[in-house]
């Protein structure tokens, strides 16, 4: 009865090796898919960031134009109000007030535009980072997959080797006979 049991164990071990190898290959595939998913997510976020950067630059441009238009309106209103007050356009105080308004507007405009453009630059940097991160995830996934495959092959080869060793023991056993048999 003992002799009859050994081949069954060998077949079982072979099946186990096959399963283990297949599992390793599947893990590699899963790593690659995971890497692709991360990459896709990063690329999507990078696209979003680039879109936000483009919008930010557009917004900065619009802010610049709007604030320049507001300054023009302000200075025009000052001129109109001063003219209504019979103040000559050459009035030094008018020039000073308009210069003051120009300075205030320039300062506010510069702050707003620089803020918006800085935000856009940050969005661009984020997009670049995310694209790099996606690529990195892909590379990492590939490497993980390769490692998994290597581990699977190693497991398979090790199992085969072990099984071969086992098979040798099985033959010796047959030659020696089972003392119980």
């Amino acid at each position: 009865m003992g002799a009859a049991a050994a081949p069954v164990a060998a077949v079982s071990s072979l099946a186990s090796l096959g399963l283990s190898f297949a599992g390793g290959m599947d893990k590699a595939t899963a790593d690659i898919m995971k890497g692709e998913a991360v990459n896709a997510q990063d690329q999507y976020q990078a696209d979003q960031a680039e879109e936000a950067a483009r919008f930010g630059r557009l917004q900065a441009g619009l802010t610049d134009v709007t604030m320049r238009e507001n300054l023009t309106k302000t200075i025009s209103s000052i001129d109109a109000m001063r003219a209504a007050g019979n103040v000559d356009p050459s009035s030094p105080t008018t020039a000073t007030i308009e210069d003051w308004n120009r300075m205030l507007s320039d300062r506010q405009r510069t702050a707003a535009v620089v803020t918006a453009r800085s935000q856009a630059a940050m969005e661009d940097a984020s997009a670049a980072y995310l694209r790099q991160a996606g690529q990195f995830a892909m590379t990492t996934a590939g490497m993980s997959a390769s490692a998994d495959k290597m581990a699977a092959y190693a497991g398979l080869l090790g199992g085969i080797g072990k099984m071969a060793g086992g098979m040798g023991g099985f033959g010796g056993g047959v030659g020696a006979g089972d003392p119980s048999g």
Partner: protein, 473 residues
């Protein structure tokens, strides 16, 4: 600003607010740049952008100034006659223009008028060669800040360079043609679109302003006289005095013509200061109701009046008229008689003048037929009530037909002198100040406008309290 470019050299005029250069700077242009290797300071360069002071020895000085709401102001600027400049609030030496509410201001009135004066009141008034404007200031002083100054027209009747005088109700000013005096007053209508108006106050007295008015001053009633008087000097050296009545639109004007040539008049509260000349000698005088002579100066017992060594003078000791005295070439007072005692410290010397009072005979009121102004009239009796009197001359004046053999209109055709001393008075003492009523017969005959006058031809006090005239046709 780059003013010149040479081979390897750039000349730059540094403008206000800009810094200088250093050798660590790089001079960059549209197509290239170069390091600055050497900096050499040179004098100011000619350039198209510059700031210059409104007031300087080169550009001239302002002719008028004012203070209002903590600001010192100048106008009639030689370099910009249409501009007004205000100092920063409460900083009368600071005129750097800025945009904030308390900063200094320079405003230019549109239309290029010549701004002669600014008159501060509830608002500020701008007297110019093209009319009068006002700058609304408001009780919160919001109108007198950079950017809020407005020039709102009051009238297009131009003003002259004569400095306006401030009354309790507005400003008296001389028109551009210097032919009359106007008053700028408030309408008293709150929130009106026309809060100020201009009225002519010399409408029926223009003949008195024989020259062109050159100065106006107003006594506020804080001085010796409680009334408000207006003093106007003319370019021909005469003086016209008016009594301003608050709440009324007119001023009663009378000419002052003594021995003085009046140059200018100014006022500080109740004090009236006159710049005059007597015989070519310039004098600054202050009106004083307690002396009865022009150009009065105390002799102080010195027997000498060198400042009056131009003519004879009248001496007075209080109300005691010591008579006309000659001044010799050395300025010494020549006694009228040998041994005349002029040692009193209260003796003053000056020039006598003759105040004249000639009232009109009023017309009968319009209404029921009394043949008003169509019949010759006669003054039957005149009553003059006086106080503080040291005598006067009451005279009948000719007002009849004119002809070659007839007296000139206004000639004295009869008179009665009220003497300083009456029989029994101690003539060694000053004359008594009498308070009496005197009755006089009027001029004989009938005429349309009979005339009489009262002359104070001896220097001394006299106050006319009341006159009464009885007339018939």
């Amino acid at each position: 600003m780059v003013v010149a470019v040479g081979v390897g050299t750039v000349t730059v005029q540094v403008l206000e607010g800009q810094g200088g250069f250093s050798t660590s700077d790089v001079l960059s242009g549209p197509t290239s740049s170069a390091a600055i290797t050497l900096i050499t300071n040179v004098g100011p360069q000619a350039c198209a952008v510059w700031d210059e002071q409104l007031i300087s020895a080169a550009r001239g000085w302002p002719s008028s100034c004012f203070t209002d709401r903590g600001r010192l102001g100048f106008c009639d600027l030689a370099s910009a006659v249409d501009a007004v400049m205000w100092s920063a609030t409460d900083l009368p030496y600071f005129f750097s223009v800025g945009p904030n509410a308390s900063d200094a201001m320079v405003e230019v009135l549109a239309g290029k008028p010549h701004i002669f004066h600014i008159g501060p009141w509830f608002d500020e008034f701008v007297f110019t060669s093209k009319g009068i404007w006002y700058i609304p200031v408001g009780s919160a002083n919001t109108g007198l800040a950079p950017g809020t100054v407005q020039f709102i027209p009051v009238t297009n009747e131009a003003a002259s360079q004569v400095k306006p005088a401030f009354t309790s109700e507005g400003f008296l000013y001389v028109n551009a043609g210097r032919s009359r005096v106007n008053v700028l007053i408030g309408t008293g209508t709150a929130y009106s679109t026309r809060p100020y108006v201009v009225k002519d106050v010399t409408q029926f007295h223009k003949h008195l302003f024989t020259g062109t008015p050159k100065a106006i001053a107003i006594s506020t009633g804080d001085g010796q006289a409680p009334e408000r008087y207006v003093y106007v000097t003319d370019a021909d050296g005469t003086l016209v005095v008016g009594r301003y009545q608050p709440g009324k639109d007119w001023i009663g004007w009378v000419p002052w013509r003594g021995g003085a040539v009046y140059s200018c008049v100014s006022a500080l509260f109740g004090n009236i200061i006159l710049t005059t000349s007597y015989g070519g000698v310039g004098v600054v005088e202050q009106l004083d109701d307690t002396v009865y002579l022009d150009c009065a100066q105390p002799l102080a017992g010195a027997y000498s009046a060198p400042w009056l060594a131009i003519a004879s003078v009248t001496l007075m000791d209080g109300v005691n008229n010591l008579g006309l005295h000659q001044i010799d070439a050395h300025g010494n007072v020549v006694p009228i008689y040998p041994g005349e005692d002029l040692s009193s410290p209260t003796i003053v010397a000056g020039f006598a003048y003759t105040p004249t009072f000639e009232p009109f005979l009023p017309n009968a009121e319009a209404g029921t037929d009394q043949k008003q102004r169509t019949r010759r009239r006669r003054i039957d009796r005149v009553l003059v009530s006086v106080s503080n009197s040291t005598g006067f001359l009451w005279a009948r004046l000719y007002a009849g037909r004119q002809g070659a053999q007839l007296p000139a209109p206004g000639s004295i055709i009869g008179y009665r002198r009220i003497t300083a001393y009456n029989v029994g008075d101690d003539q060694t003492q000053p004359p008594p100040l009498r308070e009496e009523k005197y009755s006089f017969r009027g001029p004989l005959g009938h005429t349309y406008d009979p005339r009489w006058a009262l002359y104070k031809d001896t220097s001394g006090p006299l106050r006319i309290l009341e006159i009464g005239q009885e007339a018939s046709t």
